[in-house]
């Protein structure tokens, strides 16, 4: 089923790191690529992120983290989304994330992990393609 309107994306900053320039750049670039983007602001718990995703009924959640706590916080967000019946919301992430962690994160359902220097257009087309193909399957 094709969607009438723009896809809705939640960009969230889990944990205690307050550096959100990266998250803001993603918000801005996705807005410019035609998505409806919601931003949580910094210092969110995984519980807050899952509940926000539920209330906003988003198609995807993007997690931005620079503190190194991604292996703790990303899986927790994925788990809570599943528990809230949001298992088919696409989860992607970015920040300072070593390659071996990227592999692990993909295994637990974080579909795309984008490091520093990724062109913003690459992230937008990744989302567009992934969400379009999920919508077609439905």
């Amino acid at each position: 089923m094709e969607k009438n309107n723009a896809y809705r994306i939640l960009i969230a900053k889990p944990g205690l790191d307050g550096h959100d320039r990266g998250a803001k750049i993603i918000v801005r670039s996705l807005r410019d690529a035609g998505f409806e983007v919601i931003y949580t602001g910094i210092r969110q718990t995984p519980e807050m992120i899952a509940r926000t995703a539920l209330q906003e009924d988003v198609d995807a959640v993007g997690l931005s983290l620079l503190s190194g706590a991604h292996m703790t916080l990303f899986p927790r967000v994925v788990k809570l989304l599943n528990e809230n019946g949001l298992g088919d919301v696409l989860v992607f992430g970015g920040g300072i994330i070593p390659e071996e962690d990227m592999v692990e994160l993909k295994k637990i359902g974080v579909c795309g992990v984008f490091g520093p220097g990724t062109p913003t257009t690459e992230i937008a087309s990744f989302l567009q393609d992934a969400l379009d193909s999920a919508a077609k399957k439905a």
């Binding site: 009438n4 309107n5 926000t52 019946g85």
Partner: protein, 326 residues
């Protein structure tokens, strides 16, 4: 994703909303605001009978006047009283890309885990006037939700409009009570005399009262209001509150005014007129949308060619297309 949203039947979704399931509220909101053919009609019709269940308060005002921060403070006080509250916050859709940054939520995340608060961001998706065309259908979903105290509808519904300029009067046709938010340094007494948003306020909130010149801003609005007809006995007198979302000053009084206005509407019978106005607006928004969609779908390349070749003109063609559709 679409699959998740679409897999539940309309009937089940309606039952779950009326049974107090916030996940279902969220999905129902997506369906009625997306208006995907075949998915929203039954839901919209089922929720309509709940209209009028919740008092609705609209906040309008220019960008950066502090509407979202005020919403946050109002929500905190509403929750302190033990009431439930839903917020619909509208931000602009880009006319160029169709995208939007829905940023109101950042100010209210302290309530993210509170089950008595439901917050949803909406994009304007092309509507002018500070709202979204499907706002009524969204409100009815919130009016149908069973809040846990045995009744349908949140105790309060707050609607935060896009922070547009002087002309966002649509909100007055949608909500029971309009709070117009302004701030110091936003203009002198002549600004306050202008038509537009200044006309529709049931309550004024001069935010950022922690700044200097707040007294002047309050006085400007009071002066402008005093130029109108004399107060009639029994009629609502528009209060002007100096408030600060930063310090919390005046917010209790603002909430008290909103509640008094709700009581006034009921006791004076004015609520009936307002609700009629809302229904008229809801109907007209829907009619124009359906006609537009229906008619534009029938515009062919042939029609455009006939204009190109000067064999027809836009007025004749519009009349033909509309005639065929009605």
């Amino acid at each position: 994703m679409a699959g998740r949203r679409n897999s539940i039947s309309a009937k089940e979704l309606v039952e779950r909303v009326c049974g107090g399931d916030q996940g279902a509220v969220s999905r129902a909101l997506t369906r009625v605001t997306d208006e995907t053919a075949g998915l929203y009609e039954d839901i919209a019709k089922s929720f309509f009978p709940f209209h009028g269940n919740s008092p609705t308060i609209g906040l309008c005002g220019s960008p950066g006047s502090g509407k979202s921060s005020l919403v946050n403070e109002l929500v905190r006080r509403i929750r302190k009283r033990g009431d439930t509250v839903a917020v619909l916050a509208v931000d602009p859709t880009s006319a160029y890309t169709g995208g939007a940054f829905l940023g109101d939520r950042i100010r209210v995340q302290e309530h993210a885990l509170d089950k008595g608060v439901f917050f949803r961001s909406l994009a304007t998706r092309g509507m002018v006037g500070g709202l979204n065309e499907t706002i009524f259908a969204a409100i009815h979903v919130l009016e149908a939700y069973e809040t846990g105290n045995g009744k349908n509808g949140f105790d309060w519904i707050l609607i935060e409009t896009v922070g547009t300029g002087q002309d966002e009067v649509e909100v007055a046709d949608v909500v029971d009570t309009v709070i117009c938010v302004t701030a110091p340094y936003q203009g002198d007494e002549f600004q306050a005399m202008k038509a537009g948003t200044m006309e529709i306020a049931d309550i004024f909130a001069v935010n950022k009262a922690d700044l200097e010149e707040v007294d002047k801003a309050v006085a400007n609005i009071k002066d402008a209001l005093s130029l109108g007809p004399d107060e009639e006995e029994g009629k609502w007198v528009v209060p002007v509150h100096a408030v600060s979302a930063r310090t919390g000053q005046g917010i209790d009084d603002l909430l008290a005014s909103a509640e008094e206005h709700g009581t006034y509407l009921k006791e004076s019978g004015e609520i009936t007129d307002r609700r009629k106005r809302h229904l008229r607006k809801e109907l007209s928004l829907l009619i124009s949308r359906l006609i537009m969609r229906n008619t534009l779908d029938r515009v062919t390349e042939g029609h455009i060619k006939s204009l190109m070749d000067k064999k027809s003109d836009p007025l004749t063609l519009s009349q033909e297309l509309l005639g065929a559709g009605i």
